[in-house]
Symmetry: C2
Subunit: 235 residues, 2 copies
Amino acid sequence: MLFRQFIDPESSTYTYLIASGSGREALIIDPVKERVSHYLAAIEQLNLKLVRAIDTHTHADHVTGLGDLREATGCITVMGEYTRAECVSEQVRDGDILDVDGILLQALYTPGHTDESFSLVLNAQKPEAVFTGDVLLIRGTGRTDFQNGDPAKSWDSIVNKLFRLPDDTLVHPAHDYKGWTVSSIGEEKRYNPRLAGKSLEEYTEIMRNLNLPDPKMMDIAVPANLSCGRPRKVA
Amino acid sequence: MLFRQFIDPESSTYTYLIASGSGREALIIDPVKERVSHYLAAIEQLNLKLVRAIDTHTHADHVTGLGDLREATGCITVMGEYTRAECVSEQVRDGDILDVDGILLQALYTPGHTDESFSLVLNAQKPEAVFTGDVLLIRGTGRTDFQNGDPAKSWDSIVNKLFRLPDDTLVHPAHDYKGWTVSSIGEEKRYNPRLAGKSLEEYTEIMRNLNLPDPKMMDIAVPANLSCGRPRKVA
């Protein structure tokens, strides 16, 4: 499998380009608008054909590259079924399987950070990795204080869905702010300080008291992302 | 194989923690002093025993974590035989093989960025990856204008040594400034703009005209790294 992780240093976003090999169809997860030229260079140089661009959720901290990638490559833009983005070509439901040239990604509805967040399980028959967006981060979890976020739903998504994956399933989140690039389900069960040994009540208390400032790009990013990062057309 | 890449956002340094599995001996390549607490957390949580900490060369842009890691774990500190660092426990020569619990890394002398730079080839019998330090970067090469750097030696190291590895050998450099995390020998042969289709003379011209400012930490980092990142003891 061809697997490439990209970093947007500005927003500490991780983006994933995946294909079954050079010369094959590819998909990309959580692309950032400002980095689209890099993804396109990699896609060309690795001799790939981008067929799907997926956002795990409506990001509040960066503008999505979905629209620009669709314009440049003709790829299908994908989000979960509860998205409010107006320009998504394909909406996936819980349990749906995306098949890109033999790369199988199963959609898993994991609300909590937002009410429309999905995770994607690679090879769900025998899970190898999960792309968790912002619901489960490395030794952290995505904030739950805007876009209909909810600590109890975050807990349920993580503990009752993601943590049922095998311990050796790799965790590929949409962000890390400490310089870590990957984790595993087993590690997060044991060492995530917000979850390990905690109850739902303790988790809710932690999440309600984070007191984080709004993401600096939130007022720009959320409206832009509801139109896939493309300027809204006014009739 | 357990493989973890860490990022130091300050210097865009990539550090690699490798072991044959959880509960095994591990090695680390190009650790950054300011991130040592993160490496130690990962080493503990992954149930590893750090036995070797390796610098590919004397870095000019960050202070090495070798000294702190040796103090914390008792690991052996490793550099190439031409290092001038005073506190290196083990010096490797061209062709030497480091065996850490079955992880085999062959030292390859690749001067050019500095006159004491080594690369490390993972499983040299059937090369899987190469850790290139700063001599070969992703779509770039390390500057050659200080620490006895030399464009002709850089060219020779890359074209006549690294590029003889199989095309599918993964390239893990010590830095990237564009958000790319990995490459391959085949990609760099074809798409590295300083090398693909270029002659030695053209490469030398490119490298002599980069006109880069000195790294901002150079005056601190180089002297500190000659003592493995630990303050020099004055008798």
